[in-house]
């Protein structure tokens, strides 16, 4: 069972899917530490929203590609909110789209470092406390891109496929300690990150004939982080309006 004072860390929590996750998790009783890199105002707004609803939250500046900042961020989350960090949502992500033939090393590295390596480092750090506590919830925000092709996003697809593979294997390593690790794979979701790509007939390819909302992804993350999902681990929950069905 999740202790009453448990803290969950949500990376990239200042906007979009991350902010929606932060709000949904706070609503479910987690104390939420959300990290931001470029949007302190968005992070502060998310914290205010949560507090206005009676929840507890704090914002922490973190670039997930800064290996040296990871341990401090996890520690700060627990210290500031006064509880053990027993939840982690690896949501921070970037895109640097181009055809594989044209992706330069920087565009490759930043996408892999942020979307995959950052998630690994945070998970490695957070698992220490979770394994000791015999309880933990890690949810990785992957993507339908990876399991499915999407021309122009080979770097992103590689990172997100890697994240799903990491999720499956890491989950099997810690399952007997009451720690679950799962992924969600959003399809087209209305956020800043997808602005401009939901054109050219993209919607017509989605069986639901619409883009998803961040709150619809957050509802799935909330479930995977809940006590009720204790026997669900190593899986990827697609939140894509049927795109990958």
């Amino acid at each position: 069972m999740r202790p009453d004072d448990a803290v969950i860390l949500v990376t990239g929590g200042s906007r979009g899917i991350g902010a929606a996750c932060a709000r949904a998790l706070a609503d479910d009783g987690w104390a939420v530490a959300l990290t931001y890199r470029t949007s302190p105002d968005g992070a502060a707004q998310t914290v205010r929203d949560i507090e206005a609803s009676g929840g507890r939250a704090t914002a922490i500046e973190l670039d997930v590609t800064d290996a040296g900042g990871i341990a401090g961020a996890v520690e700060a989350a627990g210290t500031t909110l006064g509880g053990p960090v027993l939840g982690l949502v690896n949501n921070a992500g970037v895109r640097a789209d181009d055809l594989a033939v044209s992706i330069d090393d920087d565009a490759w590295d930043v996408v892999l470092d942020t979307n995959l390596t950052g998630a690994f480092r945070l998970t490695r750090q957070a698992l220490r406390g979770m394994v000791r506590a015999r309880f933990g919830r890690v949810v990785n925000v992957a993507s339908v891109v990876g399991p499915r092709a999407n021309a122009g996003q080979a770097n992103y697809a590689a990172a997100k496929s890697g994240l799903i593979g990491f999720t499956r294997t890491a989950a099997t390593e810690v399952a007997r300690r009451g720690v679950t690790i799962n992924a969600v794979a959003p399809g087209f979701i209305n956020t800043d990150m997808t602005a401009g790509i939901l054109q050219n007939g993209a919607i017509d390819a989605i069986p639901a004939r619409r883009a998803g909302e961040p709150e619809e992804v957050a509802a799935c993350v909330r479930f995977l982080a809940s006590d009720g999902a204790g026997y669900v681990t190593g899986t990827t929950l697609f939140v894509d309006g049927g795109l990958s069905a």
Partner: protein, 81 residues
């Protein structure tokens, strides 16, 4: 730090950790192998973490890979402390 870490103290901490992993205290001895105690790699990773917290000894995966018995673990921690 090295002067305060005795073999007895390390043994105490290691036995307590092993018990928390579900190993049977009746089988504890320096000669007992982790295989006999049903202590696996995740348990050893956690033991490393406990050693680091208790004695300030950072143990890496490759350090722990070479140890086979409870005594090996105790000696390794004492030697690094």
């Amino acid at each position: 730090m090295s002067t305060t870490v005795t073999s007895e103290r390390v043994e105490q901490v290691v036995y307590k950790a092993l018990e928390s992993f579900g190993a049977d205290p009746a089988e504890f001895s320096r000669e007992a192998t982790f295989e006999q105690l049903d202590v696996d790699s995740l348990d050893l990773a956690e033991l490393s973490q406990i050693a680091e917290e208790e004695f300030g000894v950072p143990l890496k995966g490759e350090d722990v890979k070479g140890i086979r018995t409870v005594g090996d673990a105790i000696d390794l921690i004492v030697s690094r402390a």
